[in-house]
């Protein structure tokens, strides 16, 4: 376990060629609440558990799924405050892109900029990596897209993906259920079923969040009433 001797400093490689701090960051993500995303033929849906630490917390004030531009939304697994910082930086970068090129930022560009920020924090002194993985869902001229960005700064485009506590079960479930020509509504149902799989306790419209974007290219977070409708269809 000579790796542990190198686990204190982010910017030092271990003999096995790993940056142990990043591995630890991925562990932080792995113990966060489950979130997942599915890319349908005509849109993308992202969903997450919204388990609050106590019943006294005002759940209406918390929104985990955020908007980065009118046509790109994001959800995270891991440390909430870290995701806030990333979302804020990404929003600013999207605005700067628009000011520079007078074009709304394509999804791939925004993902790349966000990933660059996350990578910078793995190669600087005195900082730590972000303890979140992000699922970025967007719809632009290249169609619907879903990207996952990790604390190391690497990103992949996924047809369907999950992260957080229940990742292995969720991914197995998605592998079985995913079809290329899924419609957005089917994707929402599949997302709900996947969330239900590993859910501790009773799933309801108050302890999950769903965001989706369709051909109208406007990302929106569903209201609890709409979530309740979808849940009723799934039951």
């Amino acid at each position: 376990m000579s790796d542990s001797q190198y686990s204190f400093s982010l910017t030092t490689f271990s003999p096995s060629g790993k940056l142990v701090q990043i591995e630890h960051a991925l562990m932080a993500v792995g113990s966060g609440q489950t979130s997942l995303g599915i890319k349908a033929a005509n849109g993308v849906v992202i969903a997450t558990e919204k388990k609050l630490p106590s019943i006294l917390v005002d759940e209406a004030s918390i929104q985990k799924i955020q908007l980065m531009t009118p046509n790109i939304g994001v959800v995270y697994s891991g440390m909430g405050p870290d995701s806030r910082v990333l979302v804020r930086k990404s929003r600013k970068q999207a605005q700067q892109y628009y000011r520079l090129y007078k074009e709304t930022i394509p999804v791939t560009q925004l993902v790349r900029e966000t990933a660059t920020v996350m990578q910078e924090f793995t190669q600087s002194g005195g900082v730590r990596p972000f303890g979140v993985s992000l699922l970025i869902a967007g719809f632009d001229d290249s169609g619907p897209q879903l990207y996952q960005v990790d604390p190391s700064g690497s990103y992949f485009s996924w047809k369907a993906s999950a992260m957080g506590k229940n990742v292995s079960n969720a991914k197995t479930f998605l592998e079985k259920r995913y079809t290329e020509d899924m419609e957005l509504d089917d994707a929402v149902h599949t997302a709900l079923l996947t969330l239900k799989e590993g859910f501790e306790g009773q799933i309801s419209s108050k302890n999950i969040e769903i965001g989706l974007i369709g051909t109208n290219r406007k990302f929106r977070v569903l209201s609890p009433a709409e979530i309740a409708d979808y849940l009723a269809e799934v039951e």
Partner: protein, 341 residues
């Protein structure tokens, strides 16, 4: 080892680094490059349901018309628009920048933007550049607190008004507003028409400024009287007091009357001010809905004599002298065998 990335707030304000160099260059005789000014008439007024903004569409570069149909009403937020006068680049850049900042603010607060927010962002930016950013703006919009209309001056001061005009044509447009806005439009059209005729007869800006006073009754005698009162009226506090008096009538103006009044004010600027011209753009902002009426009026169409082109008969141009040089073709005829295939 790389330094930690710290997000320092940018140091704003005017950078005086190049001033010495510029002074040296002007001493040597090199002139600063010119910039395109908009030479504009822009107006705004508050009516019953919201705000109406209007602008002409001429952009000038000194005595030359650089753009015959430019857009002077800039987007700030879905419920806030801004007309810009002064240097075109300055107004574009400053409105783009504040529009971007408002969008980021909307994401963070998840609320509709307020006009006062846009106003404060604009004025702090302009103040920090000490008037070197030559942008005079009419900012209007409707938010949760109601309809608002403000003017922003290049040095960073602002006014909050029920009706406002800016730009080189502002006096011509204000003449229209001050006369017609006063008594509501339907009951005193004749009085207003007569007033306007006299104003247009005068023709130049300074006299329009003199006449810019509350005219209780019609007749030129009252105008002479008001000239004596000019000093009082010119002072800031009295002006505001007068405008507050008009506040009662503001809410009664209906949308169509408002649009028509704005159109008239802009046309007054277009026809009486050399720096303004071409077409009229109007933007009507009400709660929940914005109508951008681009080229709402086109009072200056291009007139062509004939769409089939011109035909000039003999005699239109005087012939002074004629010299005819025949072109001689030299051709040699050579006897030869027939062509072989």
């Amino acid at each position: 080892m790389a330094k930690a990335r710290v997000d320092l707030p940018p140091k704003g304000g005017f950078s005086f680094d190049l001033c010495r160099r510029n002074e040296m260059l002007t001493k040597k005789g090199i002139q600063l490059p010119g910039f395109r000014k908009t030479g504009t008439t822009i107006v705004g007024l508050i009516f019953e349901d919201g705000v109406i903004l209007g602008a002409d569409t001429r952009a000038t570069e000194g005595p030359i018309v650089a753009d015959k149909n430019c857009e002077k009403i800039h987007y700030m937020a879905p419920n806030i628009y801004c007309c810009g006068a002064g240097t075109a680049a300055d107004t574009e850049a400053v409105t783009d920048m504040v529009s971007s900042q408002l969008q980021l603010h909307r994401y963070a607060t998840r609320r509709e933007s307020r006009v006062i927010t846009a106003l404060t962002l604009l004025k702090s930016h302009l103040f920090s550049y000490q008037g070197h950013v030559s942008a005079a703006l009419v900012l209007g919009g409707v938010d949760v607190t109601g309809p608002h209309l403000h003017t922003v001056y290049p040095h960073g001061s602002t006014d909050t008004l029920p009706f406002a005009t800016m730009g080189s044509g502002s006096l011509a447009a204000m003449a229209v507003f001050e006369s017609k806005y006063k008594e509501g439009l339907t009951n005193c059209r004749d009085k207003c028409r007569r007033l306007e005729a006299e104003l247009q007869l005068a023709g130049n800006c300074t006299s329009a400024a003199v006449r810019r006073s509350p005219v209780a009754e019609e007749g030129s005698r009252e105008m002479v009287v008001s000239r004596r009162k000019r000093r009082e009226i010119a002072s800031c506090s009295s002006r505001l007091h007068l405008l507050r008096e008009f506040g009662e009538w503001i809410r009664e103006l209906a949308r169509e009357d408002g649009i028509q009044l704005v159109g008239e004010a802009i046309c007054s600027g277009i026809f009486n001010d050399l720096g303004s011209g071409s077409n009229v753009d109007v933007c009507v902002i009400t709660k929940g809905k914005t109508d951008y009426l681009r080229n709402h009026q086109l009072p200056n169409p291009r007139t062509y004599i004939s769409s089939r082109g011109y035909s000039f008969d003999r005699g239109y141009t005087e012939v002074l002298s004629t010299k005819i040089t025949p072109l001689k073709l030299k051709a040699e005829v050579v006897e030869n065998d027939a062509m072989e295939e």
